[in-house]
Amino acid sequence: MTAGAHTETGRGVAVDVQSVSHAYSIEGAPLPVLDNISLRVEPGEFVSCLGPSGCGKSTLLRLLAGLETPSRGSLLSGSARITGPHPSRILAFQDATLFPWATVWQNVAAGPTARNELRGSRQRIDEAIAQVGLSGFERAYPHQLSGGMAQRAALARALVNDPSVLLLDEPFGKLDSFTRMALQDDLRALWEEKRFTGILVTHDVEEAILLSERVLVFSDRPARLLREFRIDLGNDRERTSRKVVKLRGEILSALNLGHRGKKREAA
């Protein structure tokens, strides 16, 4: 089990979504949330998913994490079919979901503890905490942390497992904008260093542009893939650069939000 985990962790692997449809059953009636989605994420690529609220993007992440199985179609991580959760694919939620009864260190150590690998992982845990800038807070409890610090701890808890795929479900959605910007920069730096495959669900177009190589735009529920934007910015990612602003306008119009923005500008 642990040997298998190691062959799959580390650098990013490709993720394939093949004709996936998914429906929830709400009081017996089917509620379709994903409609025939096919996409491929290259090894070490960072992709963002944008779309209207509740369109099913988070469901896609839950399927990729293996927390649910799709109604139709299949999902692959590398060449292996995703049938259940695996520590090589870590999902980070909008709420930090830190265990409130455990200290920051114990929270970050959760993965290694769960896999009985704690003995050899202590240094890695300390490093992960240092990487997200939480050194000195190892013994703090979650309720003593600010929202930004809690998300940092959650990020460390994910990264300590050295995932090959990191699934991020609006991880910065509840943070104030300054904290969010700082964390976006940090996440970008961590990705450049580790090159895991990143899939981010977000409602923040700027965040999607700054962090990813590709932005996927989904329709309203049931989600279909509408358009994709390649973000050829390399490492030159300034929030205020003209390229970023232009891309932002294009993506907003793809989401049918651009028009309203123009009207406001005219007024």
């Binding site: 994490a65 959760p85 694919r89 870590i90 265990f99 009864w101 769960a114």
Partner: protein, 334 residues
């Protein structure tokens, strides 16, 4: 400028507060109340002789003198103890007045007659005359309670975890638990007589049942109330069932479990009288029944006071344990 005014104002407020603290006014009132009780006890004649009247008067006078000495002397005490005394000042006053009322309506006027009511010295007389037997009873009850309470909460906790964790266990278990829950302890006596080889074991079972049920129900609801996202986070990181139970279900349900433990503690005390109906030769519950049969209500009240004090001490101890284990909850630290 305005901040300077504010400084002067807070300074004035502080000095007023300090003056108020220099003398312990509540202590003065409390001391007078206790002194009045002592005087009434000593000066007025008893309607019926109770014994220990002098002892009660002396005790009240001693408390009164201590309180009066503390009125100016509270400054000399360590900060922590002084603060605690000030906090309980109104209670000390109320207690003094209550004793005065109690003494007056029972021993001095007989408005509340013997044998249904007993004056304070009646209780003291019980401790003086029957102290040794009461000590033995305390020891017997302690043995029964410790065995019953700890086996009860242990079994109740395990059952509660299983009910909260396993859907099929909950399907069969919850309705049974809800049926058993309201059955009064005395209704179990015939069955326990049949199933347990000794009456002592039957008594342990009744105490265990009384505290095991609330612990089981609250543990189950605590486990059921856990945010499912915690399990999902752990599962994506490779956690198996044993991790989910040991590192999530158990710590996350702990706040509920403590509510169950507090309820269990009270129920287990309430049920002691019934548990010691079963052929016990000593024990506080047994003592209460025995004395009730002889209409010796002073003895009953004196025993109830002992039980209440022991129970209060255990509640306090449980609060300390809870504070330790639930340190991580908001409000317990910083």
């Amino acid at each position: 400028m305005s901040s300077a005014v504010a400084d002067v104002e807070t300074g004035a407020a502080l000095s007023v507060a300090r003056r108020a603290e220099a003398f312990w006014n509540t202590g003065l009132l409390a001391g007078l109340a206790w002194l009045a009780t002592a005087l009434v006890t000593y000066v007025l004649p008893d309607v019926v002789p109770w014994g220990s009247t002098m002892l009660f008067a002396v005790l009240c006078a001693a408390v009164a003198l201590a309180l009066l000495a503390l009125v100016p002397g509270i400054r000399l005490l360590p900060q922590r103890i002084a603060a605690k005394l000030r906090h309980y000042g109104p209670w000390l006053l109320a207690l003094g007045l209550w004793l005065l009322f109690w003494e007056f309506t029972t021993a001095k006027t007989g408005w509340l007659p013997k044998p249904f009511f007993s004056p304070p010295q009646g209780l003291i007389q019980v401790y003086v005359a029957d102290g040794q037997r009461l000590l033995i009873c305390i020891a017997y009850t302690a043995r029964l309670w410790l065995l019953g309470f700890f086996s009860g909460i242990a079994v109740g906790y395990v059952i509660g975890l299983a009910l909260g964790w396993s859907r099929s266990f909950a399907y069969w278990g919850m309705p049974l638990l809800k049926l058993i829950g309201p059955v009064p302890a005395s209704a179990w006596i015939p069955v326990t007589f049949y199933f347990f080889p000794s009456t002592f074991q039957a008594s342990i079972f009744i105490v265990a049942l009384s505290c095991g049920i609330p612990v089981a129900i609250l543990t189950a609801s605590g486990v059921g109330a856990i945010n499912k996202a915690y399990y999902e986070v752990a599962r994506t990181m490779g956690a198996g069932t044993s991790y989910l139970i040991r590192h999530i279900a158990i710590p996350a349900s702990l706040p509920h479990v403590f509510v169950g433990l507090f309820m269990g503690l009270y129920y287990s005390f309430a049920v002691l009288v019934v548990a010691e109906m079963l052929g016990a030769k000593y024990g506080l519950g047994w003592y209460i029944q025995f004395q009730t049969a002889y209409s010796a209500y002073a003895n009953v009240y004196a025993t109830l006071v002992i039980m209440a004090l022991i129970c209060a001490g255990l509640v306090k101890a449980l609060f300390t344990v809870r504070g330790r284990l639930l340190r991580w909850q908001q409000g317990f630290i910083a």
